[in-house]
Amino acid sequence: MSNFNAVDFDAPLTLVISTQGSFRLSACNKAAAGEGLSIGQLVTDARALCPGLQVLEATPEADARALRQLAAWATRYTPWVAPATGVNGIDGIFLDITGCAHLFGSEKELLTDLLRRLKEFDIAARACVTGTLGASWALARYGKGSSVLNRDAEAQALAPLPISALRLSDQTAEGLLQVGLKRIGDLAAVARAPLASRFGPEALMRLDQALGKASEPVMPQILEAPLRVRNAFVDPLVQTDAMVLAIEKLCAEMEVLLLERGRGARALKLTLFRVDGETATLEVGTARGTTDAAHLARLLAERLDQLSSDLDIGFGYDAAILDIPRTDALAASQVDLSADQKPFSGDLSSFMDRAGNRFGWARVQHVYPVQSHIPERAVMAQAAHVGPPSLDWAEEASRPAALLPCAEPIEVLAEVPEGPPKTFRWRKVAYRVSRAEGPERIAPEWWRAESASNGVGARTRDYFRVEDDGGRRFWIYREGLYGREATTPRWYMHGFLD
């Protein structure tokens, strides 16, 4: 797959979808089509035809989402707007402009306005105004271009189009093609009863829908109300305490809303409106979806507290709106049935929310074990709000709990080829080894790029656990196999053992 940021949109570019283990083109840009690529082709075939072809993975869900958003926008023309469902999911927008066209002058002018605006969005679009959804769908895709057709012209315009313009299932379309009914006109000319008995109701239904003989209403897309609560205050608030009270009230209302919808808040946005029209915004995030009003209020209150010095209260705030821009589905959780005990709260998430919001999420991290023999790669830190902590830690007595940030070179006296250190000097202090165990040999991860060069990680390490005569225990390694990888191996201090 190509890197999206490096894509050259003028050069051949295709989107691909994976079907049963093979990748096929789902869309081509103009340049790719010019190279003879076609939708449905295998990526490997396409690559062979067009070396250097840019390939991105198709994202049908995102496309559908974008079309839904566009549908929401299109309500400026009519409230009856819906994403159009074609053969392969959502692939366009239906607008029922009955009774709305005159607001824009005429159907023609509405169409022109719509296309102009879409063009300004950089969206290439084709649209048709006809009497039926089916005819519009067909003509917008298979017709000559964007147009307005009157009732009489529709049937005529539809007749030469291929039957696939009728939104038929593949099976039906294939069956019709096999008996030679390839165009809508062919289909319309055939006696209905024999057709229905052979191909079922679908073909006739779609034909009738396109020709306006059967009704097909637009089911408008219902937009979900945003998660938002607001509060206007009788007197402008000038004191932080009062504001906190207001926040608590908002959060309590929000908790009800969230529970109703079964969502947990992952981000909060509080907008405060000052009497003179200025606004202030507080934003906080959480590590996992939550509905707990007290917790949410505390996060906001703490943020308010942090900002208090910057916050110019002026003549006070007279209104506040709480928005939840991001949510998670709420998973049911087990309630402790014994009433007298407070449920044990081993859950760190409320603490992490507070710490994360206060210090920044980059500073609150989980440490995860990674399956790597190389010690410094065996753990990985990740921002805490990305996922839950790992409980998958192996018992690890033979390794230090923490490593030095960087292995430090030491001078060592040791027996060749692979004897343990006898004495070593670390940070200018000499140590005499009284006990040693090893070597534990760890070879480089040869598949990584850095093991190719002669840099760090390109050589085998021999780790030793050593104890000096003072009872201090160190974890030391020699880098480079004697005689095989290096003539003079180097030694490093990597950590301390209990």
Binding site: M1, S18, P51, L195, R441, A443, D462
Partner: protein, 1046 residues
């Protein structure tokens, strides 16, 4: 001072990362006193190790690493032949009760077979300090049951707690009274194989290397280490170290001891097999030569029988005779070939139909007293009926005495890049694209230029690593499979010789060794092979008898028919056996075969051996009389006499090594074997020097010597001896004879034996029609499952009783044989409508639709659209039980759009792989003519050297390994076919087009050699898209793919 006892080769699939011979050779080079090979529950790799150990002069311990179902691992070495038999019995037991590829054994089984074995228990690899309880218990049980036979392996893993681990093991050893033994628990022969070992692990675990984590070993220490290094590691444990040699000394078993007992084969009424053989030969001789046996044959038989007696091979001949006799009794056509098959004795016994009077083969060349090499007779059977013969062998000898040999399936370029690519984290489409850059079954790996061509960068480190590892893994065994037909038969229980395992097919078992292994140990095998052409010939014999009243068998087809040779000389040989390929067809007019032995040469000459040895042209020149027939030496005159002084057959090349280069017969045989396995580069080089220098010092020209070697090299993978060529040539002659005299019968039988041969049904049909055979379409009322002969009225074939070929239902893609049977069983006189057919046959709508798509309702007056329309209506009518006259026929008439002829043709191709209506190119001709393209027929009259444009369907693409990357493509248009040559350089430029097009337009120069015309193309264009003009649809229909060969 040190012997490594615990090694795993790559026959421990996806665990060991070295070939057994690499292991053994390295051990010898490091100076080990002995080495043991013990693969997981198998002995599959030991013969290779055994051969290598004999060469390298190191003692080999043959054993197996027994892994019980509980996960207890013990290495087991039998101390003598009897103990070895117990081990093979144990493994057989484990194999037979497990699914293919697995072996289920428990400690109880091991104890049951423990007498005479040496056991080395292998502690599990783990970081934990406390040894696993289960292991300790198992060890204690084993030690108690087999004291003095059990050892415990100790090794330095360079893991976290080596010292403690070793100490734990010593404590356990003391507790169970088991001595410790030093090892490095080796899985690869050299440190460099660590990467491959990691890749194998990730292939095994189905996870990319980068994500395999702790599944991979932390380090790469499990290789063979110099004894000094082992001594240093075990300096505090010298007893354990010395014990390795003690154990090696205890084991006195070598695979050479497997004195192979051939089945007794005594026949009732005869004191010895030899007597029986002589009597059978005598009887056969009278049958073969009813008019009197020629003296020459008498003498040959006497001589051969003496040789057979001297080597005690009579039982082997009797076995083959018995199998052939069975086949004959069941009317299964068969034909022997191979070293001993074309002897006078075998002719008399009916094993072969090649009359020794017709061809003069020296028996000694194949069965020789001095080499003590087993005779080799392969018998080909009709491929559709071979299973009956196999079951007969099982029934006769019992499963405990007869089994099929193994075939070791190894990684080839494609499988290697697929699995390594996945392991290296390449995306599926990338791996796909890479694997497509290789041709067929290549073993050459992936070429950087091809990588670049599919838009990838071969310099990319990860990709480069993947390609390198791909090259390394090629040749590694992946799994064992059953050989196509090599049977091993023994007198006593086979499972005391070789472990036997289940095959994927039900009711099949196979031994763990492949034919080279068996060969190396001198174990006899009989190849019961399947040959499609025999099926076709058997079918022609049946048709000839039924329709022409002409009973024939292989030996009674009229010989040396001049008309047949005329046809062969014109290269009019589409569909016949062996001489139908492009290369063969262009050779025929030059070689001009006029007698049987010419055919033998023709069959053998277009092979990698003679071509690589550059022997073809000198032979042709000498045959044409433009070059003098001289022999390199007096000594070689006897060897090369029949082939005008040019070595063409494998036996001749081997004989040259003996006569001219001073090889011993055994050496020459080793040379042949070394060639068969492409991997042994080092050994081959050694032989090269020996052969060439040997010949030069004996006064031969260096150039000739080197060509001889190249030829032997070429024989390696596709060895083609004269004896095989003779048997094949007979089938070639017979198929030509039938094709010439009964082209209708020939076509019918060929179509009924598909898939077979070089050409698709479309070309066979086309060729037959050009020879005047009338071919009739598939029809629901007239066809049977098989193609059949019908009295012809419109054919122009010369013969008075010629028939027309009615295509059968088998020609329809996706139509099942059972459906065909149901249809013909219910048909009676005929069906009067689609509905009638449906009601009477009970066929599903799917099957009817398939028939409609195939346009098989024409006698009902329906074309494919109308038929489909009718079929579609069927399900909606009342059930048969309730049907009444009133409910039928009330439907409105519907006039469907007519299907253009071009579209019919396209559909014919899609459903039947051929069309009798027209050729697709006819519909495009107007366009192509306007662009200046000539037709294939035009080529005949165009003078050589002219540049032309030509377009046609791609029938065949071929890239012979011997032709230095040249592609031969065959194009077909409505007038005929044309041969296109694409030089390697042009191919590289137009690679995609050459490999991808179905309709190809070429520009190039006409070349002519006698009657052979080629177009040497320097520009190609993919015109597959033009095909959409044939239909009024917007999308292209599937056209048949070309057949690609390498």
């Amino acid at each position: 001072m040190f012997a490594e006892l615990c090694t795993m080769s790559n026959f421990s699939f996806l665990r060991g990362a070295s070939h057994p011979d690499e292991m053994v050779i390295t051990a010898a080079a490091l100076g080990y006193s002995a080495v043991g090979i013990a693969d997981r529950n198998t002995l599959a790799g030991v013969v290779r190790a055994h051969v290598a150990a004999k060469d390298a002069g190191i003692k080999l311990l043959v054993g197996s690493r027994l892994v019980t179902r509980a996960g207890f691992e013990i290495i087991c070495y039998p101390q003598d032949r009897i103990a070895y038999g117990r081990l093979t019995k144990l493994l057989t037991k484990g194999n037979r009760r497990a699914p293919k590829g697995e072996c289920h054994i428990d400690l109880e089984d091991v104890l049951e077979h423990s007498a005479g074995q040496v056991f080395i228990a292998m502690a599990p690899m783990m970081a934990s300090l406390v040894l696993e309880e289960g292991f300790a218990n198992h060890l204690a049980r084993l030690a108690k049951a087999c004291p003095d036979q059990t050892y415990l392996a100790q090794s330095f893993t360079y893991g976290r707690n080596d010292t403690k681990r070793l100490w734990e093991l010593e404590r356990l050893a003391a507790r169970t009274r088991v001595p410790c033994v030093a090892t490095n628990d080796v899985t690869y022969h050299a440190p460099g194989r660590r990467t491959l070992a990691d890749v194998l692990t990730s292939i095994r675990e189905h996870v990319p290397v980068a994500q395999a984590g702790f599944l991979l070993a932390a380090n790469g220490e499990r290789h063979l280490k110099p004894p000094a290094e082992m001594t240093r590691l075990f300096k505090d444990r010298t007893r354990a170290l010395l014990r390795t040699e003690e154990i090696a000394a205890r084991i006195n078993f070598s695979l050479d001891e497997l004195a192979y007992e051939y089945p007794d084969e005594t026949r009732e009424g005869y004191p010895t097999p030899q007597h029986a053989l002589e009597a059978l030969t005598e009887a056969g001789m009278q049958r073969r030569y009813p008019t009197g046996v020629p003296d020459r044959i008498k003498a040959a038989i006497k001589h051969e029988l003496e040789l057979v007696a001297g080597l005690n091979y009579a039982p082997y001949f009797l076995t083959v005779h018995d199998i052939v006799r069975f086949a004959r009794s069941q009317n299964i056509l068969c034909q022997g070939r191979g070293s001993a098959a074309n002897s006078a004795v075998c002719y008399c016994l009916g094993i072969t139909a090649v009359d020794p009077a017709q061809i003069d083969l020296l028996f000694e060349r194949f069965v020789s007293a001095e080499r003590n090499e087993p005779p080799d007779i392969d018998v080909d059977f009709e491929h559709e009926r071979r299973e009956e013969v196999i079951q007969y062998i099982y029934a006769r000898y019992g499963r405990h005495r007869a089994s099929i040999a193994a075939t070791v399936i190894t990684y080839r370029s494609r499988s290697a890049i697929r699995e390594v690519g996945k392991a290296m984290g390449l995306s599926i489409d990338m791996v796909d694209a890479l694997s497509r850059t290789t041709w067929g079954w290549s073993s050459g790996g992936i070429i950087a230029d091809h990588v670049r061509e599919i838009g990838l960068d071969p310099e990319d480190r990860n990709l480069a690593l993947a390609l390198e590892l791909t090259r390394e893994i090629i040749g590694f065994p992946r799994h064992l499979s059953q050989h196509v037909g090599g049977f091993v038969i023994t007198e006593s229980d086979l499972d005391t010789v070789i472990p036997i395992g289940n095959a994927a097919m039900p009711d099949r078992t196979f031994v763990e060794w492949d034919k080279d292994d068996l060969d190396a140990l001198g174990i006899l095998k009989i190849d019961v092979l399947a040959l499609g052409m025999l099926t076709a010939i058997a079918k022609t014999f049946e048709l000839l008898e039924n329709h022409y009243d002409l009973p024939l068998e292989l030996a009674t087809v009229p010989v040396e028919d001049n008309d047949v040779y005329d046809m062969i000389c014109l290269a009019d040989t589409i569909g016949v056996f062996q001489i139908e390929s492009r290369a063969q067809m262009s050779m025929l007019p030059r070689l001009k075969p006029r007698c049987f032995y010419d055919l033998v040469i023709e069959v053998a000459i277009v092979r990698p051996g003679p071509i690589q040895g550059d022997m073809v042209h000198p032979y042709l020149r000498r045959r044409d009389g433009t070059e003098e027939v001289i022999f390199p030496s007096k000594a070689l005159e006897t060897v090369l006499g029949k082939t005008l002084g040019i070595p063409l057959f494998q036996e001749q090349a081997m004989k040259i090594a003996i006569v001219a280069a001073g090889f011993t017969p055994a050496e020459s045989d080793r040379l042949r074997r070394a060639m068969a396995t492409f991997r042994k580069v080092g050994i081959i080089h050694e032989f090269n020097t020996k052969l060439v220098e040997g010949m030069v010092s004996n006064g031969y020209e260096r150039d000739f010597a080197e060509r001889c070697f190249k030829q032997i090299e070429g024989f390696g993978e596709y060895g083609f001896p004269e004896s095989h060529a003779a048997s094949f040539a007979l089938l070639t002659y017979i198929s030509c004879w039938i094709k010439h005299h009964y082209p209708d019968v020939f076509l019918c039988a060929m179509l009924n034996s598909q898939p077979l041969g070089f050409y698709a049904p479309a070309q066979l049909v086309r060729d037959a029609r050009e020879h005047g055979v009338e071919v009739l379409p598939v029809d629901a009322n007239l066809s049977n499952w098989d193609c059949s002969l019908e009295p012809s009225d419109g054919g122009s074939h010369a013969g008075p009783r010629a028939f027309a070929v009615r295509l059968g239902f088998r020609q329809i893609k996706g139509f099942r044989a059972e459906a065909g049977e149901m249809l013909t069983a219910a048909r009676g006189s005929s069906f009067d409508s689609v509905r009638d057919l449906w009601l009477r046959t009970g066929l599903g709508k799917g099957a009817l639709e398939t028939l409609a798509h195939a346009d098989a309702f024409r006698t009902l007056g329906l074309d494919r659209r109308e038929a489909l329309w009718a079929v579609r209506a069927l399900g909606t009518e009342p059930l048969p039980l309730f049907r009444s006259a009133a409910s039928v026929g009330a439907e409105e008439e519907v006039k469907l759009p007519t299907m253009p002829l071009g579209e019919h043709v396209v559909h014919d191709y899609a459903r039947l792989r051929l069309s009798l209506k027209a050729h697709p190119m006819e519909f495009l001709r107007e366009n192509f003519r306007r662009e200046g393209h000539v037709t294939c027929a035009d080529l005949k009259t165009i003078r050589a050297g002219r540049r032309i444009k030509l377009a046609g369907l791609v029938l065949v693409r071929q890239r012979p390994g011997t032709a230095k990357g040249v592609i031969f493509a065959t194009l077909e248009d409505e007038t005929g076919t044309a041969n296109v040559i694409i030089w390697a350089k042009t191919f590289e430029t137009f690679r995609k087009i050459v490999l991808g097009s179905k309709l190809l337009a070429v520009r190039g120069q006409v070349q002519r050699e006698g009657i052979v015309i080629h177009v040497v193309s320097d520009h190609l264009e993919d015109r597959t898209g033009d095909m959409s003009q044939l239909t009024d649809e917007d999308r292209p229909r599937a056209m048949p793919r070309s057949r690609d060969f390498h």
